[in-house]
Symmetry: C2
Subunit: 293 residues, 2 copies
């Protein structure tokens, strides 16, 4: 199967599950739920849950039993976008081709929508019926570390501070490790934990996830520098407006493309040892290298 088909299939599974996820019987909470659903159901590539489900496929575990966890990952990702777009953060107007959450619901409600999605991710994981409490705790611990102060939130905080200084390439690598890489790597770690994978497999997935994470961020920088609102669903050129160091600004467009190719090669190499069944992961790396949105 082509990687685009696999991604489409996983996206459909996740989208269908997400569509039924958030509902309230309390009329007084309706606006909050509308606000959460506005961003959660705005589309998006669903790359993180797709990585999780693809790794579970490889490890022989059925997607259906892990959709709560897949959606928890996407809830965390969506919350991070809502808060990242807030006026006191990047102050962005468009996301996934639609007005940002705070442009519709106001900054206060958007803050709460993010908080709600973040918290609800742990409701989903802690109440999973299909896996043991031990596995649930492992999944929660992995996701909370990757998303929290020593993960994505740490990277966002570094991003705030980076607006006031000129970053070195090393500092940018550190920032992106926290801001982007950890949340793209953790779906693979979570799949390994869920399936109690052998160490060698888990290590290969983990190294793959790290390179996929950097690859994703470098192509994100390239798209911000060269893409259009139509392609990306958000306004390009934001990094330059915010005077943010990126791979494109530090290494130039050609240099950043080379770096992306290197990360792609390393990702492909990392899963080569897993044999033919791991080929979709290699295809995914090449797909991300050439993505236009």
């Amino acid at each position: 199967m082509m990687i685009q088909q696999i991604l489409q299939e996983k996206k459909q599974l996740v989208d269908q599950y997400l569509a039924k996820l958030l509902a309230t019987t309390e009329p007084a909470n309706q606006t909050l739920y509308d606000s959460m659903n506005y961003s959660l159901l705005a589309g998006g590539k669903r790359i993180r849950p797709a990585l999780f489900l693809m790794a579970l496929d490889f490890l022989g575990k059925p997607s259906a039993a892990y959709l709560d966890a897949a959606c928890a990952i996407e809830c965390i990702h969506t919350y991070s976008l809502i808060h990242d777009d807030l006026p006191q953060m990047d102050n962005d107007d468009y996301r996934r081709g639609k007005l940002t959450n705070h442009k519709i619901y106001g900054a206060g409600m958007a803050t709460m929508a993010g908080d709600g999605l973040l918290t609800y991710a742990f409701t989903l994981l802690s109440e999973m019926k299909s896996v043991t409490p031990d596995i649930r705790c492992q999944l929660i611990a992995l996701l909370a570390r990757a998303a929290g102060p020593e993960g994505m939130v740490g990277g966002q905080a570094q991003d705030i501070e980076a607006e006031h200084r000129q970053l070195t390439m090393n500092a940018l690598r550190t920032l992106d490790y926290y801001k982007t890489v950890r949340l793209l790597c953790v779906p693979l770690d979570m799949a390994s934990a869920a399936a109690n994978a052998e160490h060698e497999t888990a290590d290969a997935f983990h190294v793959y996830g790290l390179h996929i994470g950097y690859l994703f961020q470098i192509t994100d920088d390239l798209l911000d520098a060269t893409g259009s609102l139509e392609e990306m669903g958000k306004n390009p050129g934001q990094d330059q407006i915010h005077n943010k160091a990126t791979y494109a600004s530090l290494a130039g467009l050609a240099g950043a493309r080379e770096l992306a190719q290197e990360e792609c090669d390393k990702a492909v190499h990392a899963v080569a040892q897993l044999g033919k069944r791991a080929e979709p992961f290699q295809e995914l790396a090449m797909y991300l290298l050439h993505r236009t949105k």
Copy 2:
């Protein structure tokens, strides 16, 4: 032992544990950690973890084994204060007698400090060494539901919407149930889950927690209407400035005091069946009724 002594003892336990909790070996994340610790270690009464530890005492469980969970509750409470004080929310300048987080670190970093504390609470709970994964999952599920969109976050969202309309007493009760009551009741539910308490005891604690929650909110409204910055550690009169409906504005000061007395009486009654050992809970209700900060 007098209730003030018990509260002081629990507060000390929690404060000591919190002081050592958040540290990073990543220099790039230092400001975020400073920002989280600024609010987490700003004092506060630690009522929610104290309730949790008092209930565990009653149920024969040692505080030392549950400090991670106690501090997780306080991390969630502190995050809720940081986000509540943000410019797009209540826009408050003082909290616990100090400048609010965003006044020191800026609104972006304060948003991340809140996100970091919220996420870290689930790291603490999922990695507890002293209790089984099954209990950990129960604690996470209880806290996430009480703090999330059908809990505190829902109440905060209702609070945002309430600024634009005149609430009835019923709507105010609903708002406060979500905004305040659930996070004051859940420490008791968590203790019952941790100790696998008998249904009658768990029910008595739950009803007690609900009334303590309303009692706390009503006295909060009264303090906002009549207290001073020195006593409260935050600027009084904010409810009137924001044109917020409160028990004081809807029932008058005398009416609100009567309502507080009723909630206190009901709380005292709820734990009467638990016998003499539950007297500290009755003393706590009376202490909260007469609190001046």
